[in-house]
């Protein structure tokens, strides 16, 4: 189930339940919803708040947002 998967890097601006907002270095912001297939759980998302991450995602149908399948914290994270 890796068809159509893309990656995006940026800083997590805010986290609510299983949703988070990512801002790229160009200033674009994207909303992600953590997939039920992802290895992470919503309660783990608070740890990535304000950190640089790489998200693997697919487009979601009929919403303005993406489905996050994995979230990787980058080493050069800002704390």
């Amino acid at each position: 189930m890796t068809e159509g998967r893309k990656t995006m890097e940026g800083t997590v601006l805010l986290v609510q339940e299983g949703r988070f907002m990512l801002v790229t270095e160009h200033g674009d912001s994207r909303l992600f919803i953590l997939s039920w297939r992802a290895a992470s759980e919503p309660q783990q998302l608070s740890e990535i708040n304000r950190r640089k991450v790489r998200v693997t995602y697919t487009k979601a149908h009929d919403i303005i947002g993406h489905v996050a399948h994995s979230v990787q914290v980058l080493e050069e994270a800002e704390t």
Binding site: Q16, G18, R19, F20, L31, I33, W36, P42, I63
Partner: protein
């Protein structure tokens, strides 16, 4: 129109537009109450002053980081949100009264009914009763919230809700609904939808105070000739039937509940458990007797 809340003297503490820090107990300035644990909070939605601006929907999505959904046009209404869902926790319903059109409607008068629908935060919440994992719980503010880390997505809460509020997202597999801005309440803030409402159609406060305020509003409307005004969800009234006791988020309506897509007499599914159990046991007993009659022959 009601006179509104008296302005808190605390506004004098903040003469500048730029604030050096977050206001403590901000709800005192915006809603006239201090949010305290252990008290019962809710919404009073006065549909007679709703203008359908959908500011509440937008504020809800902004604060809760919810995605816009139902892209495109429904084709049957100016309301393109459609319904409450896992991604839409406030929904302003546009209902056009067609009964007296076209000749009976006064000139230059709109015949639209607007109502901002939301989770009712029932006093006896059926969704919570149905939840097998305890993900749905009552908060210290007497509101009903889904704990995302505990929800297993079984969906039992969905048919249990008599108002069709709870929805399970196919994307994350969890149940979602209005939290009455639980995180904001914990920070002393008024819920985003009520704060954004420009006409005070959505009023936030302690449930007992809101119920009293709503009763006065109904009397006021009756005095103005709007005799059809009534409360939906207050104790003893429509919407608070079937063991629900009362709704923390209740409404002032001027048409039948069905007009607003609200059930006339909602009930707790738990009321039917005893009857279902008895009928189930009776069916088993009947089948057992039938089997005995068929297979056991007296010799």
């Amino acid at each position: 129109m009601s006179k509104g809340l008296p302005l808190s003297k605390r506004v004098l503490e903040y003469p500048d537009s730029r604030l050096p820090h977050m206001m403590p107990d901000e709800a005192e300035l915006t809603a006239g109450i201090r949010v305290v644990s252990g008290k019962s909070y809710g919404f009073f939605t006065d549909t007679t002053v709703c203008i359908g601006c959908k500011a509440c929907e937008v504020a809800c999505k902004e604060w809760n980081n919810l995605p816009a959904d139902h892209l495109g046009l429904t084709g049957n209404s100016y309301d393109n949100t459609g319904a409450l869902s896992a991604n839409t926790w406030r929904h302003v319903a546009f209902i056009e009264n067609l009964a007296d059109r076209p000749t009976g409607m006064p000139a230059f008068q709109s015949n639209w009914l607007m109502m901002s629908d939301v989770c009712k935060h029932c006093h006896n919440p059926p969704c919570m009763e149905a939840c097998p994992t305890g993900a749905l719980f009552k908060t210290e503010f007497d509101t009903v919230v889904v704990q995302q880390d505990i929800c297993n997505g079984c969906g039992y809460c969905v048919p249990a809700c008599p108002f069709g509020v709870v929805d399970v997202s196919k994307l994350d597999g969890k149940a979602h609904k209005c939290t009455l801005c639980y995180d904001r309440l914990k920070g002393g803030l008024e819920p985003a939808c009520a704060k954004s409402c420009p006409t005070d159609s959505i009023q936030f406060g302690e449930v007992a105070d809101l119920q009293e305020r709503a009763r006065r509003r109904v009397e006021e409307l009756h005095g103005l000739g709007v005799t059809s005004a009534y409360l939906y969800g207050t104790p003893g009234g429509p919407g608070a039937t079937g063991g629900l006791a009362y709704l923390n988020a209740f409404f002032l309506l001027t048409e039948t509940p069905e007009t607003y897509n609200l059930p006339e007499a909602p009930t707790r599914p738990a009321n039917r458990v005893a009857a279902s159990l008895v009928s189930g046991l009776a069916a088993v007993a009947g089948l057992a007797l039938a089997a005995l009659a068929l297979f056991v022959h007296p010799d």
